[in-house]
Symmetry: C2
């Protein structure tokens, strides 16, 4: 039971205060345990796919007793959905780093007029975005392979699982909106379509790239593809 | 055991001829059974993912006894690999229909000079290819949903399964080469990169689209994305 979801209690005596503190401590420990179980669920998805998620497999992966996972998560679906939400938050975090850099670059382009770009400034935006996006792709292909594998597993799951489908849709909509906001600096009109094409191509490059061992990844090819895509979108 | 893989026997008497004919009949029946078992394996993959493939699940799906699936396929890996090969052949068949139409369109463009396109002919190629490709995408999203789901499942499997990975790579290489040959009619130089971007974006549109029930598919949006991609590649 979480203290946070209840009305804050009015503390009157020292004894009561200590009782409340104890509840809060239990709750913090509970949150930590829930997090560990969710992370174990994601590990199971990396190794055995969403199909592999069972309370037993998750408890084994987390190194906790079965009764603990069933205490925090009523069923398998609950585990999968919470894992997706956690994963989507991680994705937002990854994307936030990329967006922060992109906006920083835009701020540094002196004399940039959003609605009336000179071809020189348009080229500057292309150069900054294509470099950032290809670095981001290659970074992910080297260091976020599990994240990409889980993304694929959830996409697969979204075909049959209506709850995961809704979570996936809203996660993806936010992602496309973020990219679309960036695209608007170059082209107002088709920003949404450009952003969706970009996200599709980019994510599929990740999904294909993760099938290749890191040492065999053809960085030059990925760079060429990303640069070309950004060129098309911006120039 | 297949007769086809052995040296053709020299038939000397009618009795021997009838024995050979019987062997051939058994082999034809065997081939048919193998095909049914492989199709059942693909059905299992559609419903339960590659993780769901077991001899038991496949025998149940095919409506045959367990000993039959273990007679034709020595283990689970054998089932998965044969299913992928069968699936890739189906994909080639789908793609062949598309390519045939594309080349037919090209032949009908009178006065087309491959190495010196007029802007009018370039536009004609864009119009023909974008219409064909978006029709193909929407057809697949409506009528080839199982095929798309299996494609995704195999892509997932390729991350961890080296044999599926190699099969996937050679299947994909052939696909990109086919598209690249088409791209060369417009741009010789970047045909391979253009083709790979196109295949990435196209397949990811299929993978996202298949998460949406047929009645909710936004055909106009998919058309706009495909037209834009082909425009970028050709114009």
């Amino acid at each position: 039971m979480s203290v946070g979801t209840k009305k804050a209690p009015q503390i009157k005596t020292m004894g009561e205060a200590s009782k409340v503190r104890k509840n809060i401590e239990i709750s913090e420990k509970g949150k930590q345990r829930k997090k560990e179980i969710i992370e174990a669920t994601i590990e199971v998805i990396v190794h055995s796919g969403v199909q592999g998620v069972t309370h037993r497999a998750v408890a084994l992966e987390a190194g906790v007793q079965l009764r603990l996972t069933t205490y925090y998560f009523k069923d398998k679906e609950d585990l999968i959905n919470e894992a997706f939400i956690y994963f989507a938050e991680e994705g937002k975090f990854l994307m936030a780093g990329f967006l922060e850099l992109a906006y920083e670059h835009l701020e540094n382009l002196s004399g940039l007029e959003k609605n009336n770009l000179t071809s020189k400034n348009r080229k500057k935006i292309y150069e900054a975005f294509s470099a950032l996006a290809s670095d981001f792709l290659i970074h992910n292909l080297k260091h976020e392979r599990d994240h990409i594998a889980v993304q694929q597993a959830f996409l697969n799951e979204a075909i049959k699982n209506p709850l995961v489908r809704e979570l996936h849709k809203s996660h993806r909509k936010r992602l496309i909106n973020n990219v679309s906001e960036l695209c608007k600096f170059a082209n107002k009109e088709d920003a949404e379509i450009n952003a969706e094409i970009f996200v599709n191509a980019f994510e599929k490059m990740e999904h294909e790239g993760v099938c290749t061992p890191v040492k065999n990844i053809d960085e030059k090819k990925y760079q060429a593809m990303v640069h070309k895509l950004v060129w098309w979108m911006i120039m």
